[in-house]
Structures are given as C-alpha cells and as structure tokens.
C-alpha cells in the first residue's frame, strides 16, 4: 500500500509557523507519487490531440529567438558572437520562471473540483506546476545542442552554475506563487495582474539582450546594483548563459549573496503564508 493503513488524519486550529517550509518539504516527499502523476497528467494533456506534440515546446522559444535575432541585427550594432544562444537561453529561462509563476497562481482555483473532493496537502498543486515546467524546460533545452556544436563549445566547470540557477528560479517562482495562488481564490484579478507584471518584467529583464546592456556603463553603478537586487531573474538568466558560454560571471559577489538570500526568503515567507491561509482560502473556491 502506498500509505500506511492506520494513517491518522488530524486537523485542528493550530498552524505551523517557522516550521512551515520544512512541513511543506515533508509533505512533498510523502506525496511524491502523486506529484509524479500530476506532472505526467499535465504533460499528457499537453501533447494529446496535437500533431506536433513535443515540437511545440521547442518551436515557441525558437520562433521568439529568430524574431529577436532579426530585430537585433537591424536595430543594434553591438557585437555578441553568441547572440542566438544568448537570446535562446534567456527565453528558455524566462519562460521557466514565468510559466511556473503564472500556472502556480491559478492552480488552486482551477483545481476546485478536486480540492472539494479529497484532501491532500494543497501545495502539491503548486509544486506539480513547478515540476511540469522544469520538465518542459529540460526538454526544450535540447535544442541548444546544435548551437553548442556549431560554436564548438565544451561545457567547462562553469556548467555548475546551471543547476544552482535553476533551483533558484524554481524557488523564486514557487515562493511568489504561494502568495498569489491564495490571493487568487479571493479575487480573480490577481492572475491578470500577474500576467501584466510578467509582461513588463520580460522587457526589463535581460531576456533577449545580455545583462551588459544594462550594467555596461550608461547607467551609474549604484543604480545597476539596485537593479540586480530587485530583479533576481537578471542574475539567474546571466548565470545560465555563463554556464554554457564559459564567460566569467560579471556580477559582484555581494550582489549574488543578496539575490540568493532574498529568493530563499521569498520562498520561506511564501511557504508560511500559504500554510496559514490555505485552509481559509479553499472555502472561497
């Protein structure tokens, strides 16, 4: 049996506070089977009934990359020998963040029929969206292989930046979704706010341009420091690029520490908020 038969379910008024993130991780581990099923379901639903199937997870970032590449070739005179790779990695990393965040925002409200039928820890819904988008990211990452061969790039030890950045992106997006998914049950306006916010930050983050265009001199350095702190995605996207190109990570260490700390804090606070509000929020769906 998957669960012990003498499982005792206790639900009462007491709420976890500082232990919330650990409780969430424990729930995640205990329900890993279910998590796997939810991710599998989302993947199946995505590829059923579509002729290209997997092709779509590759075509969308590719099409965007080509568009931005042409746009840059016309508009900009800066020289970036790896421009297609830069743009493609930026778009892939950004969509991992944006999709995890926006799917996570709506997933509690959209799962109302399931939530009103059976109890299991509700954070599973959010984590299943994180897992699903992570899976999609890894699948689409395969398209950079031809580019790597073309540039004759061999992964150096810089590649270790990749897993760190990916974990941080997931923590950030999941932590934010902990807040928005609860608020979304009360006011459906939240998902539109998230959509607009993501659209704006898409252009404000170095997604289709390198970070150097922002930190590269035109803006005084105290402002670029602020920029890096309030936009953690700038750091993570740049880390992913460095992981493949082997270029040194051009971000001060203090900034890196601040960014990592704030991301972990967002996840931590989000987990506490979610654990405390989830039980009330499900009454609104």
């Amino acid at each position: 049996m998957g669960v012990p038969d003498s499982k005792v379910l206790r639900r009462d008024g007491s709420l976890p506070f500082f232990s919330a993130p650990f409780k969430i991780l424990k729930n995640l581990y205990e329900n890993r089977q279910l998590l796997k099923h939810f991710i599998g379901r989302d993947l199946k639903v995505r590829y059923h009934n579509s002729i290209l199937g997997y092709g779509w997870s590759v075509l969308e970032p590719l099409a965007l990359t080509v568009t931005f590449y042409i746009l840059f070739a016309i508009l900009s005179d800066s020289e970036d020998p790896y421009r297609p790779l830069t743009i493609l990695l930026g778009i892939l990393a950004w969509s991992l963040f944006a999709k995890t965040f926006s799917n996570g925002t709506t997933c509690i409200q959209r799962s109302s029929s399931l939530i009103q039928r059976v109890y299991f820890p509700r954070e599973i819904f959010i984590f299943s969206k994180s897992g699903y988008n992570m899976f999609q990211f890894l699948l689409s990452l395969l398209v950079i292989i031809p580019l790597l061969i073309h540039y004759d790039m061999m992964p150096s030890k810089q590649i270790l930046l990749l897993p760190v950045a990916l974990i941080m992106i997931l923590l950030l997006a999941t932590g934010l979704a902990f807040f928005t998914s609860i608020l979304q049950t009360k006011a459906r306006d939240i998902e539109h706010m998230v959509t607009i916010g993501l659209r704006i930050s898409f252009y404000l983050s170095p997604v289709f341009y390198p970070l150097k265009m922002i930190t590269g001199g035109r803006i005084p350095s105290q402002y670029t420091d602020v920029y890096l702190i309030i936009n953690p995605m700038a750091t993570y996207i740049t880390m992913i690029r460095s992981a493949f190109t082997g270029a040194p990570l051009d971000i001060p260490t203090t900034n890196l520490i601040i960014t990592f700390t704030s991301t972990i804090a967002i996840f931590w606070l989000g987990a506490i908020y979610f654990m405390r509000r989830e039980r009330k929020a499900v009454k609104f769906i």
């Binding site: 279910l34 639903v45 499900v282 609104f284």
Partner: protein
C-alpha cells in the same frame, strides 16, 4: 488504542458569505478593509459539533437543506480544517459526493483510474491490481481507452462510482450518492454500498431517504443550523426530519 474511527470535538466552521472576495480590493482602496463586522462576512456553518463514531459503525445524518450536512462530511474528510475544535480520523477515508466530476476530460478512462487512485494515496502497484475490477464493475470496457470528454454523463457516473467504491476505504462518506444515475445503475450502486456497509468499513451517510437510513444505519443524527439536535436514535431523527418538513 482507541476504537473510534472518527472523532469530532467541538468543531466550529465558518463559511464566507460572499463567495468571491470581489469587495476585497474595493475595501483596500476605500480604506474600509476589515471594517465589515465579522458576522456579516462569515456564516457559521457548523456550530459546536461533537460526534464519536466507532469502527464499523454506520451513521446517518439527516437535516434540511443548508443545515451543514455536506460541510460536516467535508470537515471529516479533511477538506476544510475546522476554525475551532479538532477532528481526528483513523484510516483511509473516501468522500463520495456527486459522482463523475473531478475527472480530467482529456485523459482516457484508464488514465483517470490511475490518477484518481494516486490522488487517494494508492501506489502504482495496487492501482494496477484494482484496475481490472474497476473496469469490470463500471461496465464500459469498450470505451475505457477513450478520453473522458467523449463519455456520456451516465458513463462518467458509472466510472466515478466504480473507482471510488473499489478503493476499499476504511471510512466511506456518502453524500446523496444513491440518487444519481439511471435505475439499473442505482440498484447496482446501492448493492455495492450495502456490501461495503456489511464489511468492516465505517460509513457516514447523508441522505433524505428514510428507507436507506432504516435499512443501513445504526444511528441517525438530525442536523439543524449547524448543530446536532437529536441523540442518535433513528425514531427521534425521523421525527425531527418530519417536523422540519412542515
């Protein structure tokens, strides 16, 4: 070890009156946030419920619409955490309410069996063992590899009931499920429920049907405005229910 399968102690549950908090932003904007009195925003659905249900018992709950019957089942199932009080449940618990929803429309019947099984906490091995039995019971083997969205409502109901009733829960919560589906399906599902009731499962039934209560339940409680108003004797519950009708 205590032999209570379910114990509900002084449970209070409030339900929001405005289902969607659209006023939420307006309240923030106009600075009136949290100034609406609590009793206008929340409605007390359960008001100090106490029930102890022993292993193997079959309990009925009757009451007028809106008296909190379904809410009580949801609290027992853990779907809503009580605002005050404590609910303890020992064993695998299944709530069966309004069959056939909660399926994923784009997955096939077979895939939905697997998904539902895993939602209820079964691992892949035990789901595979149950799969054939479920398909047989549902009687829709010919369509089991088609997506659910191609099913008729009746077929969905059959599959839903087949899955839930074959999960062999320790505790089964039934919310008005014996009044859905066609005649033949009702007979079949009622027989299956009787089978479960006669086994060692603990069962809580919410129903308006006196005959079901009489034939199955050890105890029947009357529920009114979120409070239990009868002592568990069948006759007093029926009497209460009749008086409510008038």
């Amino acid at each position: 070890m205590n032999d209570n399968a379910i114990s509900v102690n002084d449970v209070v549950l409030d339900y929001p009156r405005k289902k969607k908090g659209v006023g939420f932003f307006r309240e923030i904007l106009t600075g009136r946030f949290n100034k609406t009195p609590r009793k206008d925003r929340w409605f007390r659905a359960l008001n100090g419920i106490n029930i102890e249900i022993k292993r193997g018992e079959v309990i009925g709950i009757m009451g007028p619409n809106g008296s909190g019957k379904s809410t009580l089942l949801r609290v027992i199932a853990g779907i809503y955490a009580p605002d005050e009080g404590l609910v303890e449940v020992e064993g695998r618990i299944t709530l069966l309410a309004g069959i056939g929803t909660g399926f994923n429309q784009d997955l096939t019947g077979r895939e939905n069996i697997k998904l539902t099984g895993s939602i209820y906490g079964f691992d892949l091995k035990s789901i595979r063992e149950m799969e054939e039995g479920i398909i047989d019971f549902s009687g829709i083997r010919d369509f089991i590899d088609d997506p659910i969205r191609t099913y008729s409502a009746g077929m969905r109901a059959r599959l839903g009931f087949a899955i839930i009733s074959n999960l062999e829960p320790d505790i089964l919560l039934l919310d008005e499920v014996m009044s859905v589906g066609d005649h033949e399906f009702r007979k079949k599902s009622r027989a299956r429920i009787e089978e479960l009731v006669q086994g060692d499962a603990t069962v809580v039934i919410v129903s308006h049907s006196k005959s079901i209560m009489k034939s199955m339940c050890n105890k029947v409680y009357g529920l009114q405005k979120g409070e239990i108003v009868t002592d568990g004797e069948l006759e007093s519950a029926f009497e209460f229910y009749e008086s409510e009708k008038e």
